[in-house]
């Protein structure tokens, strides 16, 4: 596993001319058309844009879930676009956490066990109990997903993602399946994680108001970045209206 370059410490990601094309010839779909981007460590980044604009594709490539067609994406000193499957698996295992719209918990494991699933294979994890306390589920440790509400399930998913103390947290529509109050609570947890652990957080969302809690807001359209807005001040999650 390559070490993170000290000189690049301030930058979490450096992306240059990144493209992603699905299919070939006339049926080719250009999901990303030459994206350039730099993200600082510890930022909260919100990606906005209509469906199919390329934000999920970028997130998948930065998260090591998908491979780019051309261009480069660097994390610290590591070039993600040149890694093989095994290296990408190690990258996911050691550096990133994911939170998805539909939680993706293991129904056969309790909340604590779902988190332990990750802490068992991570290098320097926090304890599963601590992770669940962090998301406010200290009293629901031994409940199975079927016994938890949607918001609670999403908080378990966040606990599972942060328990490994990742450098980056990728959240794809984390509040998409939740009502606004629960959604706000989940965003609060993400903000806490960012503040207490210094984790870089990417959030894809359709709720434009969420942008107010970000350091950097990236607007996508047609596979390219249309606009990047840097917020001078971040709002607390509770203050967001939607």
């Amino acid at each position: 596993m390559a070490k993170i370059n000290e000189a690049d410490l301030a930058k979490a990601y450096v992306v240059e001319e990144l493209t992603k094309t699905y299919g070939e010839g006339r049926t080719a779909v250009h999901a990303l058309r030459g994206v350039n981007l730099e993200i600082g460590r510890g930022e909260i980044v919100v990606l906005l844009g209509p469906s199919g604009s390329g934000k999920s594709t970028l997130l998948n490539i930065l998260g090591g879930l998908d491979k780019a067609t051309s261009g480069s994406a660097k994390f610290g000193g590591m070039c993600l676009t040149e890694m093989n499957d095994r290296a990408l698996t190690m990258y996911r295992r050691n550096h990133v956490g994911f939170v998805f719209q539909f939680y993706n918990l293991m129904p056969s494991l309790t909340a604590r066990e779902n988190v332990e699933l990750v802490t068992e294979i991570a290098d320097d994890p926090m304890s599963a109990d601590d992770a669940l306390h962090l998301v406010g589920l200290g009293k629901r440790l031994d409940h199975f997903p079927a016994q938890l509400s949607g918001g609670e399930q999403q908080r378990v998913a966040i606990a599972r993602a942060v328990a490994k103390q990742p450098d980056v947290l990728f959240c794809d529509e984390p509040t998409g399946a939740l009502d606004s109050a629960t959604g706000r609570a989940v965003l609060r947890v993400l903000q806490d994680v960012n503040e207490t652990l210094g984790t870089t957080v990417f959030i894809i969302t359709h709720a434009a108001a969420t942008a107010a809690m970000a350091d950097r807001v990236i607007h996508f359209a047609d596979g390219a970045i249309r606009e990047v807005v840097l917020n001078k001040e971040r709002l607390a999650a509770e203050e967001i209206e939607w």
């Binding site: 539909f102 129904p107 056969s108 399930q153």
Partner: protein, 791 residues
């Protein structure tokens, strides 16, 4: 104009294409079940109808009454017996055919042919040439298969020793006969065309040769409709008793008929019992596949219901899916069954000499196969379809809550603390779906039991071979004499250069009785310390033959329902014709036939004929055989010589042919069942857990670690199925062995490691193959797609 498919039909086609691998695996299981049914039913019909037609056309007798010598007028008395339709007498004897290319002569049954051209009982079926001219005593007809084995054709001459004198005969024809559909040399079980012949000859010539002019030594009888066979047999025995009758027997005890009838009965049993195992497995597989399809399509079901489709219409859609799979499997099975049947027929014609044998398609077996498949498939599907009826549209269109593992989680919680999370996932799934897992375990175990039992049975034949030819019979050759000879003949044989040991044997025809139970057979008198042929107990230790009492083989003790110490009646049917009571002194194991043994001196004294022998067992130096056989060929009192080596070879050949292909077929079937189950269970599990598996990959689990979660449960199912398969297999073997063992032959149950090894290897192989297919697809699946779709 091309009509577009209705939407539901289009969906059906696409659904089938999507689950094509699983559908094919299920079709294979159904196909094999139906194929077995079609093949076995067809074979039963082919064999029994051909046999019946053959018997009828050639007027095969229903009662056979051997006798030492009875004047011809006794036939009239037999005809007067109530229930008797026709009586025909004939002369039967044994002779030796001298085949120039063989070192030793070949035993032959010699039968008289009536001189008149009218139809008669046990009519021969000429395959070449003509019948002997009534006036020409040197003309004979030879058994077709024997002639073919020695390349003898009409026009050739053969030398035959008959009643001690050697004569040359002209072969004018070759023929088959309903009484020799299945025949083996005396004392053997496996037919060998080259080593046992049948000669038909004009009656006057045979009567002259055997000194039976104006007399007969066998009566053939047919019965009136409704006649009671046992009553007729009793009457026949009473009429023939004064003339030295070893006892009349009915068609059911005729050796040739018994073999073919028992083969048919065995096939009938298998046709009834084996296919249902495959059908049950298929029903289970269709159940889990339909369940999964319905579960993953609950939204579509909700939508269809919301549009106004009725429960029946929606269910009908899924029933069609199941029925298409079942019908395709059944049709494939019908074709496969016909193919297998046609392939099997030549094997049967090797052993069963029928004038023709065509694989007969039983239309009813097609109908049964197809209807059963559709029925079990619908049954399997119906269980799953209950869910369609239960779902309300609104409920169906909401995302399903995660499956509740809280109950499964409570099981063995203290054990769980020792397990890592992936292992806990495997264990909880096993615990949460006990019925599905038990179904899979039972199915795999049933498939394995089926193949294991057949493998054990075939291993058993090796034991028969070894025990019969190396442990019980240790002689190199068995010599039988034309008539009972003085014991000094044994010494003469022993003096032949190269003979290391000669031991006497005396066979006497008897009827053994215990109350109403009886058995017609022979008692074998052996020297008390006989080395070459021995009565052995169940531990293969020699049983010393006592000076008083009789030793019965296990099947004989079963028939008579007696044990050691019980008394039985020995009704001697030759010579002295005495009836004596004696004690059962021992039970000897036997795998071929159902012999009884006595001390030869004790037997001779019962007969009132001291120091007589009817044959001898010889032990011979290697390298001296040819000289000895030449010497035996020249001895007029020698009626036959059989070589242990040849009998063993014939047995071995049959086993290699029949057992070889059966082992392969049984192995394939076990593989198909195991593969069908594991592949389907794996596919369904993979489908159900696509998101779990993708999540694990996203979290940084390697493909191998992810595969463990999926394949671990299949491994566990297979591991549990193996010991259960062994237990079921052992039980099934015992049942099969008991069901198929008769007094003609016994099937030993030998728990040979090789059989277990093979059966386990097949199951594990099938599990690995289906695991590999799933593993391959695991690498191909798009992990991000799985995570974003709603279950």
């Amino acid at each position: 104009m091309v009509r577009r498919l209705k939407p539901l039909h289009a969906k059906l086609t696409r659904d089938l294409w999507r689950i094509k691998g699983q559908a094919l695996a299920i079709m294979l299981v159904i196909g094999i079940g139906v194929a077995l049914q079609v093949m076995m039913t067809g074979l039963v019909a082919s064999l029994s109808q051909t046999r019946d037609a053959y018997y009828e056309r050639h007027q095969f007798a229903q009662v056979f009454a051997p006798v030492s010598r009875a004047p011809e007028h006794v036939a009239g008395q037999l005809h007067d017996i109530p229930g008797v339709a026709t009586v025909q007498t004939r002369i039967s004897g044994m002779g030796l055919i001298d085949i120039p290319t063989r070192e030793i002569p070949v035993s032959a049954r010699i039968l008289s042919l009536p001189t008149h051209e009218l139809r008669h009982l046990n009519e021969i079926r000429l395959t070449a040439g003509r019948r002997p001219d009534s006036g020409k005593s040197a003309e004979i007809v030879l058994l077709d298969s024997f002639a073919a084995a020695h390349s003898i054709v009409p026009g050739d001459q053969i030398e035959v020793t008959l009643n001690g004198s050697r004569r040359t005969f002209d072969v004018v024809g070759t023929a088959q006969s309903p009484e020799f559909i299945y025949y083996a040399a005396p004392g053997e079980m496996i037919p060998d065309d080259a080593r046992f012949g049948v000669i038909w000859i004009g009656r006057p010539a045979l009567a002259a040769a055997l000194d039976l002019e104006g007399a007969f030594n066998e009566a053939l009888i047919t019965l009136l409709r409704g006649a009671v066979v046992d009553a007729v047999l009793d009457d026949v025995d009473r009429v023939l008793e004064p003339y030295g009758s070893p006892g009349a027997y009915g068609l059911a005890d005729h050796p040739s008929d018994r073999f073919i009838s028992e083969e048919i009965a065995g096939l009938e049993i298998s046709a009834k019992n084996v296919p249902p195992i495959f059908m049950l497995v298929a029903a289970f597989l269709l159940y889990i596949v339909t369940s999964r399809t319905i579960q993953s399509e609950r939204e579509e079901i909700g939508l269809m219901k919301a549009f106004g489709y009725t429960d029946t219409e929606v269910s009908g859609h899924y029933v069609q899916l199941v029925v298409i799979i079942a019908l395709s499997g059944a049709l494939f099975g019908c074709l496969l069954g016909v193919g297998l049947g046609r392939m099997t027929i030549p094997l049967y014609t090797t052993y069963y000499k029928l004038p023709f044998l065509l694989f007969r398609l039983e239309f009813s077996s097609f109908v049964t196969g197809i209807l059963t498949s559709v029925f079990v498939a619908t049954l399997g599907g119906a269980f799953a379809l209950r869910r369609v009826f239960r779902l309300t549209p609104a409920e169906a269109m909401r995302p399903a809550a995660p499956p509740d593992f809280s109950k499964a989680g409570a099981v063995g919680s203290h054990v769980m603390t020792f397990l890592d999370q992936p292992t806990r996932m495997v264990v909880r799934r096993l615990v949460r779906q006990p019925w599905r897992m038990m179904g899979a375990v039972a199915g795999i175990a049933a498939g394995m039991a089926l193949s294991l039992s057949m493998l054990i049975i075939y291993e058993g034949f090796d034991t028969v071979l070894d025990r019969t030819f190396n442990v019980i019979d240790r002689s190199d050759a068995t010599v039988s004499f034309v008539t009972n000879a003085p014991v000094k003949t044994i010494f003469e044989l022993e003096r032949l250069p190269g003979v290391t040991l000669a031991e006497p044997v005396r066979n006497v025809a008897v009827v053994l009785r215990n109350g109403r139970r009886s058995h017609s057979g022979a008692v074998t008198g052996l020297a008390p310390q006989s080395q070459l042929f021995r009565a052995l107990d169940s531990n293969a230790a020699p049983i010393p033959l006592p000076t008083r009492g009789i030793v019965l083989s296990t099947p004989l003790a079963d028939i008579l329902d007696v044990g050691i110490g019980d008394r039985i009646t020995v009704d001697i049917r030759e010579g002295s014709q005495m009836v004596v009571s004696t004690r059962v002194a021992g039970i000897a194991q036997s795998l071929i036939g159902s012999p009884a043994f006595m001390d030869i001196d004790a037997l001779n004294s019962l007969m009132g004929e001291p120091l007589r022998v009817s044959g001898a067992y010889l032990s011979i130096y290697d390298g001296e055989q040819d000289a000895i056989y030449t010497a035996l060929k020249g001895m007029p009192m020698v009626a036959g010589v059989s070589l242990r080596r040849e009998a063993e070879q014939a047995f071995q050949e049959v086993m290699n042919q029949g057992a070889g292909s059966s082992r392969f077929i049984m192995g394939f079937m076990a593989f198909a069942i195991t593969f069908g189950i594991i592949y389907n269970v794996a596919r369904v599990a993979q489908d159900e857990r696509a998101r779990d598996l993708a999540s694990l990959r996203v979290m940084g689990f390697y493909k191998s670690e992810t595969a463990f979660v999926l394949l671990g449960e299949l491994g566990a199912v297979t591991l549990v199925a193996l010991p259960l398969g062994v237990l079921l297999g052992n039980g099934l073997t015992t049942l099969i062995a008991a069901g198929f063992s008769t007094d003609l032959y016994q099937i030993p149950v030998v728990y040979a490691p090789k059989a277990y090894g093979t059966a386990i290897a097949v199951v594990v192989g099938a599990a690995l193959a289906s695991g590999w297919l799933v593993w391959r697809d695991l690498g191909r699946s798009d992990i991000t797609l799985a995570l974003k779709t709603r279950e």
